[in-house]
Structures are given as structure tokens and as C-alpha cells.
């Protein structure tokens, strides 16, 4: 193992670009608000306050843990790192920054902007599993699981993709395109969060009454479609900022490129939402609000990876495929795999995210100057292989890692609420007060079918 000094000088940002980037980062929290509202709206009314409280606590824990040591392992492009030499090529596998972000100048430098954006990114990523664990995931377990996520899983994969890690260097070291490319976090935020959601859905098991003795799923509709759709609209604002800031910081695009990034983000979301609405209209004779919202979010998720490298028409294709994938994946997980995912987190973030990663290999065209101050190294050939290796790493390494961490946590600190707590509702059981005190609690879903 070698502790290497900075091999690449951190990209310098002009004052104007740094200012624009800072403003873009400031709108990213809208994505967090949107996702929290979606998770809450798609859950039961008697767990609504718990869902929002869980979101707040998860973000708080994640940001603090990331500050203490998560960032030191994720680092930034051009920072110090640990590497192993394999076949003459350095494999940069983890950063070597000091804990507590010591020594960083918070003055608009490249590293400080990366640290700021990453704090919001890790906050967004820890909200994803909350959608899958809704109505049965204890508050204390949410905090503990979020700490593991923000301290280990997220920084490790994030370093490989965004901080000149071995995935990003596949182009330089092995001639595979420009290395693994992900502008706004389809992989490092969305798929990592989505696979954690899948792990938790498996570990927690389905909600009581979700499946009959014969294995047929019962419909447990979300309690507030207004919250869900408002969440989509707010998340769109945040996503535009996230993808644009990611383009500036992670692929070193000029600020002018953010116009294309935002256009592509909007087009992907719009086409995905319309696709989901059309599919549900055709299949159920009425457009389904929650599936349409999930489709919209799937479009946003899929747009992130390639948004700076595709033409607007290709962004529409990305969105249409993402919307269709999410609509069918929600049903497949629920009916075939018996995975109870109230928020559709696995379909939206893992499935659509994987499609977004693949879309880079299929649809992206990589321009050079003047829109890029620092050209991405490598050529276009083999880009799809680099993207496939990223997906193989997510499925083959990140899923076992995040499952193992949550499984271990569950052994020492059971993550699922008691039967009584689930019957009572998470609000009353864990918080002592309902979100909607005027509502009546119905118990029909506890009747054995």
C-alpha cells in the first residue's frame, strides 16, 4: 500500500465559477426536502410525523459522521490518497484526508465546494432507504444505519467515482473510455442509496398485512398524493442544482455547460413522468399519481449520470426508458420478489440509476474545449465497459457491503419496530403524538387474509 502525495493538482475554479457553483449547491437541499415529502406521502398517515422526523435525524447524523471521518475517506480529485500498485497501475482506493476536515480552507476553493456539495449529497442518499423502510423502521435504527452509510459505504464508492478513484481512472489505466463517468450521482448517490434500501427491505421484511397467507400483496396506498407530487416538484429544483454543481466540480465543465445540464435534467424528468402516466393510463384506465411521481423521480435519477454529455433528444430517450422501467420494476418487486417498498425507493433509485449509468455508455458524446476547462482523459472507445464495471462494483461489492453492515447492526440492535408499535403507528409508538390527531386509526390491514 502506498500513501501517495497529490498526483493531480486540484482543478482551479475562477471566482465567478466558484460563485455560480456555490449558488447551485445552495438549491440542492430542495432535493432533500422533496424526497422527504415523497417518502412521507407514500407512507401511512399514522407514520407521517415519524417519517419526517426520521428524515431530519438521518440527515443530521449523516452530515456529522461525514464531517468527522466520511470526507477524510472520500476526499476530492487531486487530494492525497492510498493506492496499491497492480500490474504497474496505481489503484487509488481510498482518500487520506485528515479527520474533521482539518486544514481545509472554506473560502470557495475547489476542495471546500466539493465538501459542501458532498454534505448535501450524503444527506440526500441517506433519505433513500427511508422510503423502503417506511412504517416499520425504528428511529434509533435509522440513525445508526445512516451513520454506517455516511461513514463507510457512501465515502468509499464516492471516492472511486468522484475523487480520481480506480473507477474514474479506468480510462487512463486501462484504456476504457474516459473511465467511469457519473456527473450528478446516479451511481454514488442513487444506486448506493437504492441498494441500501433493498438491503433494508429484505432485513426488515414486509409490513404486517402487506401479504396474505397465499403471498398476494394488499394495496397500501400512500396517504397524501399532494405531498408526493409537491415533493417531485421541489426535488426537480434540487436536482437541477445537483447535476449542474456536479458538472462543474466532478467533470470540470465550464459554468456555461450548466444550461445544457439543466435542460437535460428537466427533459428526462418530464418524459419519464409522462411515460409513467401513459403506461398506468393504458393498464389501469386512469393515470396513477404515485407511479407517475415515481416515474418522474426515476427520470431525475437517470438523468444525473449523463446530463452533461447527451443531446436534449437523448435526454428524452433516457427519461422515457427510466419512466417505463420504474413503472414495471415497482410491480415486479412487489408481486414477484415480495419486497415491500412503500416509497418505491429501490425501483426509482437503484433501477433507474443503473439505467442512467448505462446511458452514459450508450448515448453520451464527449465534447472537449471550450466547454471543459480540464478535458476528461481517455477516448470514447470502451466507455460502455467502464460503465459496466461500475455497475458490477455496485452489485458485487456495494450490495454485500451495505447488506452486511445492516445485518450486523440488526443483530445487535433490532431495526424493526415491535408488532404492537406497528399496529399503533410509528407516530404514537415512537414520538408519542400523531401527525394528524384528528384522524382515526384503522386496523383492517391487520386482519389475516
Amino acid at each position: 500500500m502506498t500513501l501517495s502525495p497529490a498526483a493531480v493538482i486540484s482543478p482551479a475554479l475562477s471566482e465567478t465559477t466558484a460563485g455560480i457553483c456555490f449558488l447551485l449547491i445552495l438549491v440542492v437541499p430542495f432535493a432533500l426536502v422533496g424526497l422527504a415529502l415523497i417518502n412521507t406521502g407514500l407512507g401511512r398517515s399514522r407514520s407521517a410525523a415519524h417519517s419526517m422526523m426520521g428524515s431530519l435525524m438521518a440527515i443530521a447524523v449523516a452530515v456529522l459522521v461525514y464531517f468527522i471521518f466520511g470526507f477524510s475517506w472520500q476526499g476530492f480529485a487531486g487530494g492525497p490518497y492510498h493506492a496499491i500498485i497492480v500490474g504497474g497501475n496505481p489503484w487509488n482506493w481510498i482518500a487520506a484526508e485528515p479527520f474533521f476536515m482539518r486544514g481545509m480552507d472554506f473560502n470557495g476553493s475547489y476542495s471546500s465546494l466539493v465538501a459542501l456539495l458532498q454534505m448535501f449529497c450524503v444527506g440526500l442518499a441517506v433519505l433513500i432507504p427511508l422510503g423502503a423502510g417506511a412504517d416499520r423502521w425504528r428511529l434509533g435504527a435509522i440513525c445508526a444505519s445512516s451513520a454506517l452509510f455516511a461513514g463507510l459505504t457512501y465515502p468509499l464508492f464516492g471516492h472511486w467515482v468522484w475523487s480520481d478513484g480506480w473507477l474514474a481512472q479506468l480510462g487512463v489505466n486501462y484504456g476504457l473510455g474516459h473511465g467511469f463517468v457519473d456527473v450528478g450521482g446516479s451511481s454514488s448517490i442513487q444506486v448506493v442509496g437504492g441498494l441500501t434500501a433493498l438491503s433494508l427491505a429484505w432485513i426488515l421484511g414486509p409490513r404486517r398485512g402487506k401479504y396474505s397467507a397465499e403471498g398476494m400483496p394488499a394495496a397500501v396506498p400512500g396517504h397524501n398524493a399532494v405531498l408526493v407530487i409537491l415533493g417531485c416538484l421541489l426535488a426537480t429544483v434540487g436536482w437541477c442544482g445537483l447535476n449542474s454543481a456536479g458538472a462543474i466540480l466532478f467533470i470540470h465543465a465550464e459554468a456555461a455547460r450548466c444550461v445544457l445540464v439543466t435542460v437535460n435534467t428537466m427533459l428526462a424528468a418530464a418524459s419519464a413522468g409522462l411515460t409513467a402516466a401513459a403506461i398506468t393510463q393504458i393498464r389501469f384506465r386512469k393515470p396513477d399519481a404515485s407511479l407517475t411521481a415515481n416515474g418522474w423521480m426515476g427520470g431525475l435519477v437517470a438523468s444525473s449520470a449523463a446530463c452533461a454529455f447527451v443531446k436534449p433528444a437523448a435526454a428524452v430517450v433516457v427519461g422515457i426508458i427510466a419512466g417505463a422501467l420504474v413503472t414495471f420494476a415497482v410491480e415486479w418487486f412487489e408481486f414477484e420478489l415480495k419486497v415491500d417498498d412503500p416509497g418505491g425507493a429501490i425501483s426509482v433509485h437503484a433501477v433507474a440509476g443503473i439505467w442512467g449509468i448505462l446511458a452514459v455508455g450508450i448515448l453520451a458524446r464527449f465534447p472537449v474545449a471550450p466547454l471543459f476547462s480540464g478535458n476528461l482523459p481517455g477516448t470514447d472507445a470502451g466507455q460502455w465497459l467502464a460503465q459496466l464495471i461500475g455497475i458490477a462494483t455496485l452489485i458485487g461489492f456495494v450490495l454485500p457491503l451495505t447488506y452486511g453492515l445492516n445485518w450486523l447492526l440488526n443483530r445487535f440492535y433490532p431495526q424493526r419496530v415491535s408488532i404492537e408499535g406497528e399496529r399503533q403507528g410509528m407516530d404514537l409508538h415512537e414520538l408519542g403524538a400523531d401527525a394528524y390527531p384528528d384522524f382515526v386509526t384503522h386496523a383492517d390491514e391487520f386482519i389475516q387474509r
Partner: protein, 59 residues
């Protein structure tokens, strides 16, 4: 079955890494990369099947 599935996931990933490190020619590299992903798919199927709820536990 669950453990075997997760081991296959890791084995598939390690096959992908080994391919990168050991093979230079593009066709061989592509073939082995796809083989590694195939192993992961088998692992994923096993893990998913292991998590299907048994009949008595449902509801």
C-alpha cells in the same frame, strides 16, 4: 442459499477486477467482464430467492 448468493456476488466482482489486472486484449477482457457480471446475476437470483418469505410467515 443467502450466503452462497452473496459469495457469488463478491466472486463475480473479483472476477471483473482480476480481468482488468490480468488481461490485456480487448476481446478476452470483454468476455471475462461479461462472465463476471453473469456470476453476479446468478448470485443476485440466489439472494432474491433466499429472501422470499416462506408461506407461514406471510401476513
Amino acid at each position: 442459499m443467502k450466503l452462497a448468493g452473496f459469495l457469488l456476488l463478491l466472486a463475480g466482482w473479483l472476477l471483473v477486477l482480476a480481468t482488468l489486472a490480468l488481461l490485456g486484449s480487448a476481446p478476452a477482457r470483454t468476455g471475462f467482464l461479461l462472465a463476471g457480471i453473469g456470476v453476479e446475476v446468478v448470485g443476485m437470483v440466489l439472494v432474491a430467492r433466499a429472501h422470499l418469505p416462506v408461506q407461514e410467515d406471510r401476513g
